[in-house]
């Protein structure tokens, strides 16, 4: 295996990881059925490509990609308040198709011919696959740190409560609308940023790169890894990008094996391979604990208390 090939795969894997993380904010943390993330990926990709082909700075182009995509995301967020789960899923699928059609027909997006980008230069470095991989990985680390922080903030708690039960969240005085829209903005802005990186790493984009199948692919990554966790989408994105290359020896049967694995996974582990409730994850955690027993965290204590509480509760239930 030569290094260019390896870095090409790694660059793709890191880009899809970032994209999967963006979807995870909307679908995993806020629980909104987003099936059209590729539309926002595309908005970012085209925005950044248009700017750099007009001699704009690459980093500024990425910023613009985030903003434009986030603005569209805010509109979708507002719309999402009106729609329940399946309707939202279909609406976002629809948005994906409409945006792909728009990319394919606007003059500024190059129409059917798409847009050709040149490799950007950051701090004097001409970006190749290795630099794109490093750049994106740094972004992934930053995003992960921010998400971890967010999860422990008021915003994260609010999102979790919305995901569990929007009605109850509302009755606790949480402004559900505000947080839900915010989740859409953050998620889509991140998708836009990823798109900006993607269009420059590929050198050429056309509307088919942002088709519905891409959205499905990203959803699959999150679901296979485990929605609503950080490790899940990362794991899923890496596996689903690397798998087709690993299966290259069986060119003709790749799609079939890929699809079969998808079905088996979802059938036997709908919570994802590394989801919180997944037996694989529990096993791994158990293994880790055995090797290095650790201090009881607050979460463990709460869990223990809850267990104790459960006994009391069931006791009361018995009397009634």
């Amino acid at each position: 295996m030569n290094s260019s090939y390896l870095f090409s795969i790694l660059a793709t894997a890191s880009i899809f990881t970032l994209l999967a993380l963006s979807l995870n904010i909307i679908t995993g943390y806020a629980g909104q059925a987003m099936m059209g993330i590729a539309a926002f990926f595309g908005i970012g990709a085209y925005t950044a490509a248009i700017i750099t082909t007009h001699d704009g700075n690459f980093l500024l182009a990425l910023l613009a990609a985030m903003i434009v995509s986030g603005v569209f995301g805010a509109v979708l967020g507002v719309i999402s308040l009106r729609l329940q789960a399946d309707f939202l899923a279909i609406t976002t699928i629809g948005i994906n198709f409409v945006m792909a059609a728009v990319f394919n027909s606007l003059k500024i997006t190059g129409g059917t011919l798409g847009l050709t980008t040149s490799k950007p230069v950051i701090f004097g470095l001409k970006m190749n696959n290795m630099y794109f991989f490093i750049f994106t990985t740094i972004l992934i680390v930053i995003v992960c740190l921010l998400i971890t922080k967010m999860r422990h903030s008021w915003f994260g708690m609010a999102l979790a409560s919305i995901e569990n039960d929007p009605g109850a969240a509302r009755s606790f005085g949480i402004n559900v609308s505000k947080y839900q829209i915010l989740a859409f903005i953050i998620g889509t802005a991140l998708a836009g940023l990823t798109g900006g990186i993607y269009s420059h790493r590929m050198g050429f984009i056309s509307s088919t790169d942002f088709a519905f199948v891409v959205s499905i692919q990203i959803v699959s990554m999150c679901v296979i890894g485990g929605l609503g966790t950080l490790r899940g989408p990362i794991f899923g994105a890496v596996v689903l990008t690397v798998l087709p290359e690993v299966l290259r020896f069986a060119d003709n049967y790749r799609e079939l094996v890929y699809a079969l694995l998808l079905v088996i996974m979802v059938r036997f582990m709908p919570e994802g391979l590394l989801g919180d409730d997944s037996p694989v994850w529990k096993f791994l955690v158990g293994l880790f604990r055995k090797i290095k027993p650790r201090k009881k965290t607050r979460a463990d204590l709460i869990a223990e208390k809850a267990k104790a509480g459960e006994y009391e509760l069931s006791g009361e239930g018995g009397q009634a």
Partner: protein, 401 residues
Amino acid sequence: MKKFLSILLILCMVFMFAACGGETNEGGEEGGGEAALPEVIKIGFFAPVSAPSAAADGLSSLNSAKLAVKLINENGGINGSTVELVDMDDGLDTTEAANIAEKLAYDDSVVAVVSGSYSGPTKVAAPIFQEAGKLMVSAYAVHPDVVNAGDLIFSQSFPGKLQGTAAAIYANDTLKAKKIAIISVDLDFGATQIEAFKAQLEKMGSDAEIVYEQAIAISDSDMSSAVTAAAAAGADLIYSVNYYEQAAQVLREVGQKGLDIPVLGTEGADSFELLNIAGEYANGLYITTNMNRDDQNAETQAYIENYEAEYGIQPDMVGASVYDAFQVLFAAMKEVGVDTQAMRDYIAGMQNFDTVTGTLIRYNEDGSAVKPVQIQLVTNGEYHSAGVIDDMEVIDPANYQ
């Protein structure tokens, strides 16, 4: 969490070092070896074999690539060296195409590459090969910018604009069309051809007018509304810039509705699949293409015969184009060996090279082929020659920049 992130970072570092190590190793293995031909000459190849929507063209491409390699080896190889095909499936996915391109471009045993894929994958792969210093011949990708990636990229088929121009000349001069309806596929294939078609009509001062125009998504098989509207607009010619599936549906619509409007198609309709789907309604279809099945040229007849014998089906334009891309490479290797620069110079200087898809007059400076445009007419369920447009004014891509 922090632990997890640091592990992630460390993993990345390890990957990088491992990769860099790999690079230096490989650089050392191959070194000289320019003078003599290697015992086994490897030629890279990619086509969309596993994507259900593109697999028909993918398989035609792969079949032809295998046939080309098999025949050259049966006939003594390249000056005694055997040719080996390194075939890859791009699944019609540009990110996969980028991976494959990196793999082939930096594999030192692969001496040149043929693209048997569509515009998207080929367009993404071209700059990668250019940068790696590897020669690529694109068989049938129509995107006009493929060849602009650099001097190592050639296109074996003529540009879409040229075909549109030839179609306009034929529609005006021979078919005497006055009211033309355009039904085209909403892709670069359609867009480039109709643009050139309209420009040429204007340039010629033709009195033909465009009475109806509709771009149709590649996924759509329903042509009833477009054909009905074209007929209602009084069209006396339908210019169908579609691939075979949709072109066949246009023909079926015209035939079943009993409309007496001739249809002019493109190389996209040059497939046995069209004849199967449209059946009797295919008769009377004109197409602009590069393959002349009536050509008594030994190359063409041998290819058709061999392909049918090997696979039991007829070859199509896509397959023939791939076969020719290999013939171009074989010819260069026989003369100048496998050095990239030598091959490049040889191919750039090729003149009047006989291929299955017509005489390759020469390559234009940008790397696109200069070829006469064949007009074929379907009669009795077979493609037959109905003319050729070989005016250098028209077919020289230099005139379309």
